[in-house]
Every structure is written in C-alpha cells, then in structure tokens.
Symmetry: C2
Subunit: 166 residues, 2 copies
Amino acid sequence: MNQMTTTMSTQSHEEKIIREVLNIFSTHLEQNNLRKTPERFAILEEIYRRDDHFDAEALYIHMKNQNYRVSRATVYNTLELLVNCDLVKKHQFGKNLAQYEKSYGFKQHDHLICVDCGKVLEFCDPRIQNIKNMMGELLKFNVTHHSLNLYGQCQGACEKTQSKVS
Amino acid sequence: MNQMTTTMSTQSHEEKIIREVLNIFSTHLEQNNLRKTPERFAILEEIYRRDDHFDAEALYIHMKNQNYRVSRATVYNTLELLVNCDLVKKHQFGKNLAQYEKSYGFKQHDHLICVDCGKVLEFCDPRIQNIKNMMGELLKFNVTHHSLNLYGQCQGACEKTQSKVS
DNA sequence: TTGTGTGCAAAAGCTTTGCATGTTG
DNA sequence: CAACATGCAAAGCTTTTGCACACAA
C-alpha cells in the first residue's frame, strides 16, 4: 500500500532514493544525447522531495517560492523527459489537468479518488496484471501500461485530510 | 463486446434504442424541472446515431454539417446533462480532451487504446467489479464508478483504421 | 409572462511554441 | 563555438462564462 511510515531511517532512505534517481536521470540524458542542465536535476530533486500528486503549475510555483529561477516551459519539458524514463508517472483524475507523481522505488499502484473532496488514495491489486495479460493476448495488443481509477465518496471524513500521504 | 454486427434487424433495433433514450431523457428533464428544448433532443439523437467515441467539437461540427443550428455552449451543456442521467459516458484517453460515447443498452466495458494510431477497443472483465467492491470496503469508500484504460500498440494493423467510425 | 436555455463571442485554464539569449559539451 | 536548453510571452486548444435574445412552461 505504499506507506513508508516515517521512522528514524526515513531521512536517509529518502536521500538514498534521490541519489539513485539523479544517477538514473543522468545516465538517461547521456544515452539520449541530452544535456545535463541544473534545471533538469533541480526539478527531479524537487519532485522526489514532494509526496504524492501534484500538477505542473504547483511544481512551478513551489520552485519559485524557494527562489529557484525556472520557467514553466522547462518544467513541462522536464516532466516529459522524466515520464519517458519512468521516473515520474503522469495521471488524469477525471479533469483536464495532468497530475504527476514520483515512481521510482514505489510499488505500482492504482488510485481511488473522492469526487467530493479530491482526496486520492492508493491501492494495489494483482488482478490488474492478469487482466492486462489476458486482454493483450486476446485482442492482439502489446499492452505497455494502464490507468485504473475508482471514483466515489470517502465515507464521512471528506474534509479532514488532503490527498497527501507523506 | 458491444459489436452489433449490422444485420437486417439493426436498423429497427437502433430506432428502438433511440426512442427509448429520448423517453428516458424526457422523463429526466421533467423530474429535474429542466426544459425540453429541441436542441437537447437533437443532440441526444445525434449521439445515438453515431458509433464509438467522439469529442465535443466533433459532435458540434457534425451537427453543423447537417445544417442543424446549435452552439458549442449547448453541446457542452447537453453532454453534461446526458452524463448525469447515465445516457452518455465521458472518458479521457490520456489526452486533455474529453471523449464521449453512448451508454444506454450497451454492456459496461473498459478500453484498450493504441498509443500509436489512437484506435480504441473495448473489453469486459468481471474482475473489475470485484476489485471495486473489495477496495471500496477496505478503504471505506463508496465507489460509484471507475475508469480502466489499457495502453499499448495494436500489433501490425496500426494504420488500417482510425478510431472514428462515423 | 417569467425565467430558463440558447447563441455568440470573449475569457479562462492548461499546455505548447517561437524567438532571443544563455550554457553545455 | 555550435547546438541545444532556457526564459518569457504569445499562441493554441478545449472548455466555461456573460450577456442579450428566444422560447418552453
């Protein structure tokens, strides 16, 4: 279920993850003859210090607030690069607004969205994999990824928390 | 799998469906004190004469081409009404563009989207229902609907058909 | 007749693009 | 130093909104 309950080791674990993804990104950029700019690494690091889901504008604003000079264009550009090398996942939770989340080191999962308060929960179910395999074979598709969102109301506790797990 | 292979009886079956949905919509409008305008019924009928998936603009253009005078605003307004009374389903297939399809008289299904050519196939799998039930209970959510999209490449036949039928 | 619905165009919101400048390799 | 990336602002696209007019009840 993807909770890393915050323990004493969390800090260093987060730092370890960050070092790893920076390396992975660096290698990816090299292999594709793309340039290693400070903006690209700063955005990646920022994403991995955040938790859960965010949109491009929120990421942009958050970097601005930290006095990091970056442009929207670069944020969008870098997000696309990161999605391409599987360090970030892109979602749409029923609105015309792309939501992103870090993906390296986290278990594959799907989402449950409260249509009233926007809260996003995560869950894993192995049956999805079976469905992907079966349908790919049946319909002669090479299934590469999927998106499963369940929508509904969170019973009772609609205003108590936002979509963060942290 | 939602194919109504076109047979001699298809015409009258389609007409029957159309009469039914017009009645359902009419009742829905009455019950909610909404007005029965010719535009609303024309849009519903147009949708049920189309096949597969379309976006708001395509629907608007198609009605214009038939010399039916309607505005984009009314198309959007009516689509929302129809989604609310479950006569039309709204989807997002990975792009910032809402796609719609008629839903009355068709089995609940999910989608398989070719990321190369945009083709959309449909499939049914009862395991989804189980997942919805289980996760709703587990996470204390009242799950009302869901969206499952599988993405991949359709093997071989990518350019042969477009995603439109109309 | 009253007020909801429509059409039109303008505005809004997210994302992409063009161009001059800056920086990586 | 050459090509690519960035920043900024403008443009693009889908969707929403405001307002005057039309028409359903």
